[in-house]
Each structure stands twice: as C-alpha cells, then as structure tokens.
Symmetry: C2
Subunit: 186 residues, 2 copies
DNA sequence: ATTATCTATAGATCTATAGATAATGC
DNA sequence: ATTATCTATAGATCTATAGATAATGC
C-alpha cells in the first residue's frame, strides 16, 4: 500500500505492545498470532512480514517490548528509596494487573522453556533490575539485590495464585516485611 | 474389559502421575491429553472415562498428584532443620528437574489463570508448606515462613530462566544466604 | 510501481464425544 | 454380560506460507 513512510514501523511497534500485554496476561502459550494481530487491528497473515516466527516476537518482547509499562519495576525507580520501591512492587494494583506489570512475576515459570534468545534477553533485563535495586541499598550489594527481587517475584506470584483475598494480602504483607528486613539487613 | 478389580484405579493413578510430571516440565498448557495418555500407555479416547475434563485433571494434580515427588519441599521435611531445608530446595538437582520438584516453582506464574478449584487446591498445599516451614523456625512465625517460601520459589524460577550458568548459581546462592538470614533473623 | 496488508489454505494439534472392541468374571 | 480401553471423528485453534489486493509515492 505504499503507506506513509513509517507506517510499517508503527504497526510493528503496535504488535509488540499488544504482545507485551497479552503475553503477561495469558501466558506465552496462551495467546496466538491471530489474536495478537486482531487486537492490533490487523489480520493474521501479515504477521510474518514483521517477525519470522512467534518465537522471534517473544524474544523481541523480552528484549524491549515490556519497558514502557507503568507497573514494571523500572517504573518505580523514581521512588525515593528501597522502601517505596518494595511497596510499589507489592501493592494490590500490581497484583490485579499482570498485563502492565513485572515480566518476571507474570511469566517467571514459563521462560525456561523458551529459546536461548528469549532467555538471554530476559537475563539482561534481570541484571539491569538487580543493578538498580543494588543501587538503592545503603551499601550496594548485588547478591542482596538478587534475593530481594526473587522475594518480590515469588510473593507476587503466590499472591496471584491463591484465590482467598485475605491469604493473598498476607503473602504480600509478609513479602513486604521480609524484603524491608533484607534491604536494611545487618 | 472387566479387568482385575482395581485395574481402572491403577490406570487413573498412572495418568495422574504422568500428568504431575509433564505439567511441571512442559506447563499446564504445554502438554495435551493425548500425550499424557500415550505416556501412560493408553490412547486418548479413554481419558474422559477417568476425568470429566483436562481442567478436572489439573485440579486433581494440584490436590494430590504431586505429593510423592522426591524433590517436593515436603520431601525435605526429614531435614534436620531450616538450614538443610533451604539448601535442599535451592540445590542444582532441583533446578535441573522441575518435573520432580516444587509445583510452585514449576508452575507459579500459570496457576492464577486456572479454575478456582485448581487454585484452591494449590492454596491448601501452600498453607501446609507454610505451616511446616514455620515449625522449623526457632520460634514459629507463619508470615516469616510465607516470605521464606516466596524467596525460595522466586530464586528457583529466576535460576531456571537465566541461560548463563554462573548467573544462575549466583541467584541460587544469593537466595540461600538471604533465606538463612530471614530464618535466623531477629 | 511499490509494498503493507489481506484472503485462503495447509497441515498440526487440541479438547471432547460416540460407538466399537476385546478381555475377563459370572 | 460387563466395562476399560480403543477407533474414528467433529470442530476449534495454532503456526506458517503463497499469492491477491489495494493504497499511495513516483
């Protein structure tokens, strides 16, 4: 259609955005190419002129597609310190909206089944997160940061899995208290 | 076929066992009824005389199908104390064998998308685990136990997701140190 | 004339159902 | 005669491909 110069780039970005949300909401296996393209306002046939395969899309989503989300850990870096970071991560708004939230919490147990490219892209983002958490500590400690992030991811997943609201809250609160203890920790 | 009295029960148990392993290895969406039945030595058509649906099988697997696995947290209860429990959970053998390991680590981010029955069954097992971990602490504390378990689950998932072995080890070790700190922690 | 997108389709796979088959207890 | 399992199939859905269509820059 010889559309305006950057038309295809815009479409591509739109597909990435839709995929980033739907993958976190429904799982990497839980949503198909046709659904993603449909939500981007297109038909499924055009997908393969943008990406060579669904797995390639997954790799790109891990590499860059989930950066803009308002609930990602990174979006909390403007937090004043580690305390408010932890509180932002473990709040109920995050629990209710995996599609806008942390990729590790939304997809943690699925990632290891995917391509090395996808896992490497995830690992790069994880290291960024670890570095940033470390920087929020009184004295930087990347291993401490790894543990704090693991605790946040685990707490959020269990809080989402459990159907009872009271128990879900308890998991969030227990995670919060322990993460704070680790952050200040001796 | 009027097989020996308990033939059908045995088959049913076999299907549950196969499902418990394959679900943890490939994900709840990653393996189909035909594959499970095939691995149990049967054809797919007979599945529905044992379970009304795949989701019903998932519920049963969460309720009881994963109890016998050698790497489940519960299998480490003969551990002398909290330290050896933590070390057993976060060892590399567990990382390499999700199919025999902790259901929360293997399926954590998928559970919330399934039936209330499946989630409730998972929650019951989680509460058992929390109680048992609490009992291993110097003074029982269920919220502390929730946080410790969340940390173990998160650490294991991230260690599995990351492709680099050195980084994976670091995640396990960092989780171990922090879990021990939480366990002893003031 | 170019090319982003669409239409149509192939070939796998998935959950689920209906009715046939076959093996053993009566 | 009973019934656990098998065969065959329906109807969805999935990834991927090939070639047609249509909208705009030249």
């Amino acid at each position: 259609m010889r559309y305006p110069k950057e038309h295809k780039d815009q479409t591509r970005r739109r597909v990435l955005e839709v995929a980033a949300a739907r993958f976190r909401k429904d799982g990497l296996d839980g949503v198909g190419v046709a659904t993603l393209m449909g939500e981007a306002g297109l038909t499924h046939g055009g997908f393969y002129s943008h990406f060579p395969s669904k797995e390639a899309l997954i790799e790109e989503v891990f590499a860059s597609g989930m950066d803009a989300s308002t609930l990602r850990p990174e979006s909390a870096w403007d937090a004043e310190g580690i305390e408010s970071f932890i509180e932002r991560y473990l709040r109920e708004a995050h629990r209710e909206h995996p599609e806008k939230g942390c990729p590790a919490a939304a997809l943690g147990s699925e990632i290891h089944r995917h391509s090395k490219g996808a896992r490497a892209a995830f690992a790069r983002k994880l290291e960024e997160t670890v570095t940033k958490i470390s920087g929020l500590l009184a004295e930087p400690d990347e291993d401490r940061a790894r543990a704090i992030f693991s605790l946040l991811v685990g707490s959020m997943q269990l809080a989402r899995a459990v159907p009872d609201r009271a128990e879900s809250r308890r998991l969030l609160d227990a995670g919060k208290a322990a993460a704070l203890a680790l952050a200040k920790g001796k």
